[in-house]
Amino acid sequence: MFKSINKWCVAALTFLFFAGSFNANAQGEGLFKAKCATCHQPHKNGTGPKLFEVRKKWADGGAKEGSIYQWVNNWQAAAASDPYAQTVSTWAASAMQAFPELKKEEIDAIFDYVDSTPDPAAAADGKDGAVDGVATTEETEEGSFSWVWILLGVIFAVIIGAVSGVRRQLKAALSDSKDADEQSYMQEFKTWAWKNKIYVGIATLVLVMSLIVSLVLSLGDIGVVEDYQPSQPIEFPHDIHTGVNGIDCKYCHNSVTKSKSAGLPSVNVCMNCHKQVNGRTPAQQEKIKAVYAAAGWSTEGAGSYTGHTKPIKWNKVHVLPDHVYFNHSQHVVVGGVDCKQCHGDMTKQKETARVVPVGELNKIEGNIPLTRPTLTMGWCIECHGEKAIQEGPLDGKKDGYYDEIHKRLLNNDKSLYNKYLEDGKVTVKELGGWECAKCHY
C-alpha cells in the first residue's frame, strides 16, 4: 500500500516538475481565466466539457482542420460547416458564448496552458490518502494511550488488593499466635476512627458537604448539551464551505431572516454548486456522491436528474425543548445578532457542527461574553440582560418600531427611562425580554 502511495507521489512530483517547466505561457493562463474558466475546467466537465488536450480530441474525432478555432470565434458557424462540430454542439443544452475577438494564436495559448495543467485528482489522490492514513494512526495511538492508563489503574488496584489481603492474612496469623481478639476490618476501622474522631469528623463533614455540593451542581447540568456533536449522514465541513470558499451562512440557511427556523438547506441548494463541484479527491467525491444520491443526480454525461430523490436525514444539533419558542429572524434581522454569537466561528469548524461551549464563544471577537452553558435558559436571558437595543433615539438611527417604544417611555415615565439608561443602554430585558411569554407559549 505504502509503496504504491510513494510511487504516486513520485509520479505526481515528476509530473508537476515537467509541467511547470513547460508552463511558460502566462498569456494563455490569463486568457483562460478571463474568458473560459466560468464554464470550462481543464480536467473536468462542467457547464462546458473539459478542455484538456481538446485539440487532440477534435483531431482524433475527425474534425476539419482549423474548425476548432472557428468554433471558439463563432460556434454556430463551425457547427454548420463541420459535422464533428455539429456533434459537439449537442453536448449540452446550454449554448456556448462566441468569442470573435480571440485570434488563433491566443486560442492556441489557451489550449497550451490547459494542456500544461496537471490533473489535480491524480496528483492529490496519493497525497490525501497519505494524510488520512496518518490521521487514523494518530487517533489509534491516542486511543491506546488512554487504554494503557486504565489498564495500569486496574493492575494497581489488583496489586493493592492483593497486598492488603496478604498483609491481613499475615496479621491474622500473627494474632493467632499471640491469641489476641480477632478483629474484623470494620472493628479495626471503628477503633481507629474513635481514636481520631475530630479528624474523622471533619473529614466526613467535608466529604458529605462536597458530595451535596457536587450533586447540586450536577443537577444544573441536566439538559446541558454543550459540545453535543451528533454524527451526520454526510460529514459536512463548515470550514471549507464558509471558511475557504467564503459562502455566506445565509446562502444555505436562507430562511434565517424570514422564519423562526434558520432552515437546513434543501438539497437543490447544495446542487446549485455541486453540479459543478464534485470533489477533487476520491474522499471528497465519495462524500459529494451522497449529495447526488439525495438529489437524484446522475453524473453521466453532462449530468441529469433521475427523479429518484432520497432526503438526507440530518441529526439535529441545536435541539431546543418543545416548550421553547425561538425565532431566528427576530434575533438576526431585528436584533442584529451575528450567527457566531451563538454558533461560534463556523469558518473554523472542521468536523460536523456541534454546540459550541460558552467558553469558546466568549473568545470570539465581537461576542457578548456570557457565563451560563450554551443553549440553557440562563444563557439566553443573560444575553437578553446584556444586549442593548441599539435603534431609537439613543444613537440617532431611525427605526419606526423602537422609536415609538422609546417615545412612549419618554412621554410617560421619564424616571423609569432614566433608570433604564443608568448603564447607558436599554437592554432587551428592560423591554420585557425576561418575561415568560416571550419564549414560552
Binding site: S259, K260, W314, D322, Y325, Q330, R408, D413, L416, G432
Partner: protein, 1087 residues
C-alpha cells in the same frame, strides 16, 4: 481488497460448532417442558433473596433514570427541492372556498409545512365578508380522520381504482345497451365544472342522445328549501331563490328563519345584519322574530314572538290583513305573538321598501304569503333582488320522493350514484330505502367514509376531502369562486368530477397528482359567461387573479319581479295542520345536518343557546314541563326521559328545559344519531364509556350520539316538512347530560352584563345605562379604580398594552370564536363525561344569560325593593338573551398571580397575564381565585390517556397533524387559559419590527377576533391612542366585567343595545345622584 466481509458473533459461529448450529436452528428449544423446568430442584437454590431483589430494583430504577436523562437524537429532514412558496416555520395561506351542500363561505386556509391547520373567513374577497360558521372553521379536522376511506372499495373489500373503474364502466355499458336508467342523486351542485362533468356522463349514458332520459340527475338537500323555489314559481313564474340584503332593511321580520346561523346563506346574511346593529351608526335595524325553538337569530332579535309551526302562516296573514290583504290563512295568534306582530306592523309601515320579511318554513303556501307580504311592502328590487338568484339549495323534493318510493316499491333504476348525499340517514324512510338498494344492479357512492348510504353500495369511489381538491362554485348569479387544494391527497382518493369523466370515457385517472379536475375547471372558466369582465386582457391574468382572490364578480342587472296574485289561490288547504303538540326539527350551529358528526370539536361545542354538548334532546318550555319533567335542569341528577311519537315512529330522548320554546311545541335537533348501524364514520361520532373505549349495545355495536330526528320529516304538499304533529309521553329513567353552563340567568348582576335600549342610549347620559362603579369614602364617592392593594403594573408606560373589546350588541353567540380558539391553541377535547364534571378545556366560553321575570332586561332589577334572588334564578317564559364571550381578562391586578406559589402565572409589561406551563405545579390556587372562572386545569394527559383516545384528535399520528406547532401541547397537572393568542401577538410584533415601523391595527389579532363574523371582538395595542381598541375602550358603552372587584382587566365589554321599547327599563335607567345607593340596599336584602 475484498468488499464482502463476513461478520460473526463468536468463534462458535465462525467455526459452526454443533451446539451453535443446534441453537441457531432452534431459537426456542422445546427439549425441556415448563413443568420439567419448574421441577428442577436447583432452581430453589438460585432463588433471589428479597433484599437482592430490592437491590436489583433500586439499581434498575436508577439506571433507567440515568439512561432517560440522555436526550434523544432528533432528526431534521430538509426538502430535496423546496417548494418556492413554503418557508419552514412560516405559515402559508391559501384563499379558497368552502361548500358542503349547506354552508358556503370564502375562506383562508393556513398551512404549515404543507399541512392545513386552521381555517378562517376571507375578509377581503367573496360575498361572505370574512364570515364563517363553526362547521366551516372546524372542517380542517376531519381531513386527518383515520376513518376516512383510504382508497376505492368494491363490496366490503378494498379494490384498485382500475378494477373499480373497469367494473363500473362495463356495467354502465351493459345498462346503456339495455336502455336501463341511471340516477345520480347529489346535493345541490353549484359547481359549473362538476355540472360539465356530469353532462359528459349523461351524454355517455344516453348514448349521445341529447333528449335521452336514461340518465336522471336528482338534486336533494338534507334540509330542503324547495318551498321557496316553488312559491317563487307560483308568484313570479320562475323557480329561484332571490338575493336577500339584510344591510338595507330597517325592519327585519323573520318567521322561523334562523338567518344568522343555519338558514340559506347565513354566512352572507350575518355580516349584513350586524352592519346595521351599531347603535352609533346612521340607523339601527329593528328585528322581529317569530319562531318555535329559541334560535341564535331569535336570541338576538329585538322582539321575539313564540309561535307554533302551524301559526307561522297566521303571523304572515295577520300582517297582510293589517295591510289590507285578505288571505285564506287564519289570523289568530296568541296574545304574546299578536303584541309582537302589532309592533312589527307599526315598524313595517314606517319603513316601507326598506324592510325585509323572510320565512324559514319549507311549506310552499307559507312562502307564497311571505312573497305577498314582501310585494305589499315593496321590498322587491330593494332589499330582495330577484334577478341575482342564489344557486344553492336546488333540492327537488318531488323528484326525490318519487325516486325513493319507486325504489322501495321495487321499481328501482338500473344504477344509482350517490354524491354528497346520505339519504339512508337523512330520509324519513331511509332504512327501507337502504334495504331496497341491495336490489339495485349498480350502486356507487362517492362518499369519503363508509357512511350509512355508502355501506349499502356495491362500489365506493371516495372523493377527496375538500381541502385536498380543486373545485369551483357559482353560489349566486353574479359570483364565481374557486376552491384550491392545500395539501396533496393523504389517501388514494379521487375527485368526484374525475370519476364522472372516467366513467364517461372522457378522462384517465391521474392518481394523486392528477390534473384532470384542474384542467376541467380551467376549460369551464375560459368560457365567456365567467370570463365576462373585459378588465383582463388575457385568460392567464384573469385566471391567476381568480385563484389569488378565490373568486370574481360578474355584473347582473336588478330588475324587480312582479307578484302574481293568482298565487294566493294556492294557499288554501296547503298550510301546515294545527295540533296540540307540534314537533319542530331544528339544526344546531355546530352539528347542522350531521355531516361532521365525527368532528369532536363540533360535538363538544356547546349549543349556543342550550349550552349542551355531545347530545340532542327534546327542548320544552320550562313552564310546560311542570312536575312531569322536573322543573330545573340538574346536571348532577340528569334529565327525565320522554318519548315523542310522530305517526308510527318514536324517539326516546331527555327533556331539556328551554326558555323561549313556544308553548305546545317541542324541538329536536337534526344531525344526531349518525352511524346507527356502527358504520365506520369516525371515532368521535359514537358514545364513549367513563374510562375510555366506546359504549356498545348487546351485539357489540357502537352506540351513536343522540337520536336521528330525520325520521320525523315528511313529504307534504310537494315539499319535505321539518315540523310534525305528534305526542309526548314520559318514559321512566334518567339520562345524564353534559352542559357547560348550569345557571340560566345573571340574577340582576349589573356588573357582569349591561344592556339598554336604543332610545335610552341615544337620549340619556352614560350614567343612566353604563354607570361608573363608585365607592363611598369619608370625603365623598370615589371611582373604584382609585382603590388598590398593590402598586400598579407599569403597563401604561412601557411599550404595548394588549387589550380587547367585545361589543355585546354585535356578538350573536354563534360559537365560531370558540372553535377557532380550539384550533389555534391546541385545546384538547375531553368528552362528555369530563364535561359533566365541569372539566371542559375551552379557553373561551360564551356565557348565555336569560332574563327572568324579575328583570326588565338581562342584568337589571326590575324592582329593587322586592327583588328576589330565588325567583330571579328562573328564566322567563320568553326571555331576553345576552351572549357574552368570556375568556381570561388579563387583569393588571390579577388575583391569580398573587396566589401562585411558584410564580408560574405572572404579568408581562405588555399587560398579558402569562402562563409558564413548565413552572406550574398544579396547586389550582389561581383557578380558585379567578373571579371570571376562566382557568382550565389539565386533569389528565389528554394527548395519551386512554379515556380520550376516541375523542381527542391529538391521540393518533394522523390527527396530530392538525396541531399548531407554535403552541405547546400541555401535559397533565398544569393550569392553562387564554393567552390572548400570544403566539400571534409575537408574530405580529415581529412583522412590524422587521419592517421597522410601529405596530398598527391589523398586525396583532387573536383567533377569536379574526373569525368573528360580526367583528364584535377588537384586539390591539391600548397604549396606541390611534388604535381601534383604545377608541372602543374609551367609548361611553364600554365597561369591565366585575369592575368592582378591582382586578383591572384588559378586556372591555360594550353595553348591549336593543332597538326596542322597554318602559320598565326606562324607569330604571335614569341618571341618579349616586347610583351605588341602590346596590347597597340590594346587598342587604340578599339572603
Amino acid at each position: 481488497m475484498s468488499t464482502t466481509r463476513k461478520y460473526w458473533k463468536g468463534l462458535e459461529e465462525l467455526n459452526e460448532t454443533p451446539s451453535f448450529v443446534q441453537g441457531r436452528d432452534q431459537e426456542f428449544p422445546q427439549s425441556m417442558s415448563v413443568d420439567e423446568f419448574l421441577a428442577d430442584e436447583n432452581l430453589k437454590e438460585t432463588s433471589t433473596a428479597r433484599r437482592d431483589f430490592l437491590k436489583f430494583l433500586g439499581f434498575s430504577v436508577a439506571a433507567a433514570t440515568v439512561a432517560a436523562c440522555e436526550s434523544p437524537v432528533t432528526k431534521a429532514i430538509p426538502y430535496v427541492v423546496k417548494p418556492e412558496n413554503v418557508t419552514p416555520g412560516m405559515p402559508t395561506w391559501y384563499a379558497s372556498t368552502y361548500y358542503d351542500g349547506t354552508s358556503y363561505a370564502s375562506i383562508l386556509v393556513k398551512t404549515r409545512e404543507g399541512r392545513p391547520i386552521y381555517i378562517k373567513g376571507n375578509k377581503d374577497f367573496g360575498i361572505t365578508k370574512g364570515s364563517a360558521n363553526p362547521q366551516i372553521i372546524a372542517s380542517v379536522l376531519p381531513i386527518y380522520d383515520s376513518a376516512r376511506l383510504a382508497g376505492a372499495r368494491k363490496g366490503n373489500n378494498a379494490a384498485s381504482w382500475s378494477t373499480v373503474d373497469g367494473d363500473i364502466t362495463a356495467k354502465l355499458k351493459e345498462i346503456t345497451a339495455k336502455k336501463g336508467k341511471v340516477v345520480l342523486v347529489s346535493n345541490t351542485i353549484i359547481s359549473p365544472s362538476t355540472n360539465a362533468a356530469i353532462a359528459k356522463l349523461k351524454a355517455k349514458v344516453n348514448g349521445g342522445d341529447e333528449t335521452g332520459t336514461s340518465f336522471e340527475h336528482i338534486q336533494y338537500d338534507a334540509v330542503s328549501y324547495a318551498g321557496i323555489r316553488n312559491a317563487n314559481k307560483e308568484s313570479f313564474g320562475t323557480d329561484f331563490i332571490p338575493d336577500y340584503d339584510f344591510s338595507k332593511a330597517k325592519t327585519i321580520v323573520s318567521v322561523g328563519a334562523d338567518f344568522l346561523s343555519t338558514w340559506l346563506l347565513a354566512t352572507e346574511y350575518t355580516p349584513q345584519w350586524s352592519s346595521r346593529r351599531n347603535p352609533d351608526g346612521e340607523w339601527m335595524s329593528k328585528h322581529f322574530q317569530f319562531e318555535s325553538v329559541l334560535s341564535i337569530t331569535g336570541s338576538n332579535a329585538d322582539y321575539r314572538g313564540m309561535v307554533k309551526p302551524s301559526e307561522e302562516a297566521n303571523v304572515l296573514a295577520y300582517l297582510l290583513n293589517k295591510f289590507g290583504v285578505k288571505t285564506a290563512a287564519t289570523t289568530t295568534l296568541s296574545k304574546q305573538a299578536q303584541d309582537v306582530a302589532d309592533l312589527a306592523y307599526e315598524s313595517l309601515k314606517k319603513s316601507k321598501g326598506e324592510s325585509i320579511v323572510v320565512a324559514g318554513s319549507n311549506n310552499t303556501a307559507v312562502q307564497i304569503l311571505t312573497n305577498k307580504l314582501n310585494a305589499v311592502l315593496g321590498t322587491y328590487g330593494k332589499t330582495i333582488n330577484t334577478s341575482n338568484t342564489v344557486n344553492l339549495f336546488a333540492s327537488n323534493d318531488e323528484a326525490l320522493n318519487t325516486f325513493v318510493t319507486n325504489t322501495i316499491a321495487g321499481k328501482a333504476p338500473a344504477a344509482v350514484i350517490f354524491y354528497g348525499v346520505n339519504p339512508v340517514y337523512t330520509l324519513a324512510n331511509g332504512e327501507a330505502f337502504g334495504k331496497a338498494l341491495a336490489k339495485v344492479d349498480l350502486t356507487i357512492s362517492l362518499a369519503g367514509y363508509t357512511d350509512e348510504t355508502a355501506s349499502k353500495c356495491k362500489f365506493i369511489c371516495p372523493d377527496h376531502h375538500a381541502l385536498e381538491a380543486w373545485n369551483d362554485f357559482n353560489p349566486k348569479k353574479n359570483h364565481f369562486a374557486i376552491a384550491q387544494p392545500t395539501i396533496r391527497p393523504l389517501f388514494e382518493t379521487s375527485a368526484a368530477q374525475e370519476s364522472f369523466l372516467v366513467w364517461a370515457g372522457a378522462a384517465k385517472r391521474g392518481g394523486k397528482d392528477s390534473s384532470v379536475v384542474y384542467d376541467l375547471i380551467k376549460t369551464t372558466w375560459s368560457a365567456d359567461n365567467i370570463k365576462a369582465t373585459s378588465k383582463y386582457a388575457d385568460f392567464e391574468t384573469f385566471w391567476n387573479k381568480a385563484i389569488h382572490d378565490s373568486c370574481i364578480d360578474v355584473a347582473v342587472e336588478n330588475t324587480p319581479s312582479v307578484f302574481n296574485d293568482a298565487a294566493l289561490a294556492k294557499v288554501a288547504g296547503k298550510l301546515p295542520k294545527v295540533a296540540a303538540l307540534e314537533v319542530v326539527l331544528y339544526r344546531k350551529a355546530g352539528i347542522g345536518v350531521g355531516a361532521q358528526a365525527n368532528n369532536p370539536w363540533l360535538q363538544e361545542l356547546p349549543d349556543p343557546v342550550s349550552k349542551v354538548t355531545w347530545d340532542n334532546y327534546i327542548t320544552m318550555n320550562p313552564t310546560e314541563m311542570g312536575t312531569t319533567y322536573a322543573t330545573t335542569f340538574d346536571q348532577e341528577n340528569g334529565l327525565n326521559l320522554a318519548s315523542v311519537k310522530v305517526g308510527n315512529k318514536e324517539l326516546t330522548l331527555p327533556v331539556y328545559p328551554s326558555p323561549g320554546q313556544a308553548p305546545g311545541t317541542v324541538g329536536i335537533a337534526l344531525g344526531y344519531g349518525r352511524g346507527a348501524n356502527d358504520e365506520n364514520i369516525g371515532n368521535a361520532a359514537f358514545q364513549t364509556k367513563e374510562y375510555g373505549g366506546h359504549a356498545t349495545d348487546e351485539n357489540g355495536k357502537r352506540l351513536p350520539i343522540g337520536k336521528n330526528a330525520f325520521v320525523f320529516t315528511s313529504f307534504e304538499n310537494g315539499t319535505l316538512s321539518y315540523s310534525a304533529n305528534g305526542s309526548i309521553t314520559k318514559v321512566d329513567g334518567i339520562y345524564p347530560i353534559a352542559a357547560t353552563q348550569i345557571h340560566h340567568t345573571v340574577m340582576g348582576r349589573h356588573s357582569i352584563v349591561r344592556e339598554t335600549t336604543l332610545d335610552i342610549y341615544s337620549s340619556k347620559d352614560k350614567e343612566a345605562y353604563n354607570p361608573a362603579h363608585m365607592l363611598e369614602t369619608h370625603h365623598g364617592p370615589e371611582h373604584i379604580s382609585k382603590f388598590d392593594l398593590w402598586e400598579a403594573h407599569p403597563v401604561e408606560k412601557i411599550g404595548h398594552r394588549w387589550g380587547m373589546t367585545i361589543d355585546l350588541s354585535s356578538c350573536i353567540g354563534c360559537g365560531s370564536c370558540l372553535v377557532a380558539c380550539q384550533s389555534e391553541n391546541n385545546v384538547p377535547v375531553v368528552g362528555k363525561d369530563e364535561v359533566r364534571r365541569g372539566r371542559e378545556m375551552h379557553w373561551l366560553r360564551i356565557d348565555r344569560y336569560y332574563a327572568s321575570d324579575e328583570e326588565a332586561t338581562v342584568g337589571t332589577r326590575e324592582n329593587k325593593e322586592t327583588f328576589d334572588y330565588g325567583k330571579a334564578e328562573v328564566a322567563a317564559q320568553n326571555p331576553k338573551v345576552v351572549h357574552m364571550p368570556m375568556m381570561c381578562q388579563h387583569c393588571n391586578h390579577a388575583s391569580c398571580e398573587t396566589v401562585c406559589p411558584v410564580a408560574a402565572t405572572n404579568h408581562s409589561n405588555e399587560g398579558l397575564n402569562q402562563m409558564a406551563y413548565n413552572r406550574c405545579i398544579g396547586t389550582r390556587y389561581c383557578a380558585n381565585n379567578c373571579p371570571y372562572k376562566v382557568r382550565r386545569f389539565n386533569w389528565f394527559n389528554y394527548p395519551s390517556y386512554k379515556k380520550f383516545t376516541q375523542v381527542n384528535p391529538a391521540q393518533d399520528d394522523l390527527g396530530r397533524m392538525v396541531l399548531n406547532p407554535d403552541v405547546t401541547v400541555r401535559t397533565r397537572g398544569v393550569m392553562e387559559k387564554c393567552s390572548f393568542c400570544v403566539q400571534k401577538i409575537q408574530a405580529g410584533k415581529l412583522v412590524a419590527k422587521k419592517e421597522a415601523r410601529p405596530v398598527v391595527d391589523g398586525d396583532v389579532t387573536t383567533a377569536c377576533a379574526e373569525v368573528c363574523p360580526t367583528n364584535a371582538i377588537t384586539v390591539g395595542d391600548w397604549n396606541d391612542i390611534k388604535s381601534m381598541v383604545r377608541k372602543n375602550a374609551d367609548d361611553k358603552r364600554s365597561y369591565q366585567a366585575l369592575e368592582e372587584v378591582g382586578v383591572k382587566p384588559n378586556v372591555w365589554y360594550q353595553v348591549k343595545v336593543r332597538n326596542e321599547k322597554n318602559a320598565d327599563l326606562e324607569k330604571l335607567q335614569v341618571v341618579k345622584e349616586s347610583a351605588h345607593h341602590g346596590e347597597k340596599k340590594d346587598n342587604k336584602a340578599h339572603h
